[in-house]
Symmetry: C2
Amino acid sequence: MATMADVARLAGVSLSTVSYALSGERPISDATRQKVLAAMDELEFSPNALARGLASRRSGIIALLLPTDESDADPFMAEIIVAAAEAARSSGYHLLLWTEPIGSGGELRELVRHGLIDGALVLAVRLDDQRIPALTRAGIPFTLIGRTADDVHSYADADEEQAAAVTMDHLVSLGHRHVAFVGPPIDQIDQGYGIVVRLIDGRTAAAETNGVALSIHSCERTADAGRSVARHVLDADPRTSAAIVMNDPALGGFIGAARDRGLDVPTDLSVIGLFSTSLAASLTSPPLTTVSPVPAHIGRLAAENLVAELRRPDEGPRRDLVSVRLSIRDSTTRARSA
Amino acid sequence: MATMADVARLAGVSLSTVSYALSGERPISDATRQKVLAAMDELEFSPNALARGLASRRSGIIALLLPTDESDADPFMAEIIVAAAEAARSSGYHLLLWTEPIGSGGELRELVRHGLIDGALVLAVRLDDQRIPALTRAGIPFTLIGRTADDVHSYADADEEQAAAVTMDHLVSLGHRHVAFVGPPIDQIDQGYGIVVRLIDGRTAAAETNGVALSIHSCERTADAGRSVARHVLDADPRTSAAIVMNDPALGGFIGAARDRGLDVPTDLSVIGLFSTSLAASLTSPPLTTVSPVPAHIGRLAAENLVAELRRPDEGPRRDLVSVRLSIRDSTTRARSA
DNA sequence: CTGTTAGCGCTTTCAT
DNA sequence: ATGAAAGCGCTAACAG
């Protein structure tokens, strides 16, 4: 592995000239720049990331904080992660995967004190997230994937408001007046909480104009939980003609239980997958109508926002809402009573 | 951030003593060790990862090489990734996510020359994988997740032989004699290739004793492809009473197309998901009988093997085969002719 | 526009 | 058992 000293020697310039030729932090004559570049690729030089990081106090590494105590390996998250890694890379950053229970800020502080990371992407933000203060105290810039209650940080998130509106619109236009919302475990995810609030707002609006009754149910992320919630929903209000399920793992159980009750999807019960992946949508039968963002967009924007903040700290937080798309497949249809 | 110098000063010892107290690379009297440790946690000292890496020529970082040109964000892979990250972490390593098309060894060489990584985990290995020689030339130890043709490297992989046997056994015992195998795009994945070979071997054995006819079909990773393969399979041999589908994205289309033909799953056609995730299995209707390893085991073992190789290079390559489990759900039943 | 040099915070000889 | 000191390969003043 060639070092800068090697390059400098071969190019007949000083070491710092090589460094500046690389960084562009000060003007270099074209002639010397050429010599340096030539020497560099003759020696197949690449700068040593560790040495550079040590000297510059910037590692070029950002961490992706991945909670492990819930929703393990959620495919939706998987797409976000991969997209974030790609975006980071094309911005010249490396992406480090850091798995840790949400509660424990402790190990994260270790990571931070190692001086390894320049910034962090925080996945699955909760309202009261230990990780946020840990990062703040450490002075590490970060971008949320999702949002917390306060709005002082950078984030990238699905546009839940729009999602709520699109979802309700679709169902209302199909004549549904008794709708159930099956969410994630409500205590776990802020995202879940947010969407519920927004759905209720949507309901309020819809109720005023159309008289829609929306019931809210949280549900563990398992098929069995989906099954029992379905039974509960149908018992509680037999007039329920449509369900919004924001919980892929519960989806199979939910639909199965409805069918076991003799209800046909969508004839008797329309089901709409909120934030479902397209894979999940293709697996159910009938294929699922969904309202989802492109998860990869969220990951990419989050990474880009963080990088922008690292490069231009003065410009303040950056926020992006990714709009969702209604993909009408075969699990929704007109309400029979309509 | 406290440095070793700070700790040394506070403890009243030399800097090198602090270093050795930490690494244990040379004997330290109990008295001084206590002083040093006390100073360390009074100052909340953690060693700077960059400086340590620069000095020791070991970064403590391993890369996970993730191909982006296929099977994007496959949930199966997602579980592997998360498990690998956790395992790396609990072995004291950091996990860097490196996305790159399989073809290009070029960018990978960049990463390697940066001196950032001590080793690599190579996901989705192909028979002729550019990344292998790139790593080998660079002298970077690596562990495969999956296997190549040659068997000189460390790896962790599903036990395909067992998987093939278990799958065929299940179907044969249910009386199926005309079985279709729907694989991944055959040109892409060595794993796919391997399992096909092993299935054919299994077929050979089964054929000899039971006269099973196994037809092999490759299939793109989309629902539409699954649909057309289903039609093709049923046209080609109407006696087909069971299908092995090793392609989750195609699964929904496959089952849907069969049903559109008036075939009931499983009564008329048994379907078994090979290497399907449990999420996918819960989403289909009926819930899918699967033969799968625990993906997390594969990821964990791969990371552990790599770490072992980094720590004890002389012990040679480590190989692990993760056994699969047959999870009987509702998509398989006795052949009607049986 | 270019060169010289002092660190960045640690590991690891070389001494004692 | 401990200390002193020479780097690891780079960045960023500080000097022209």
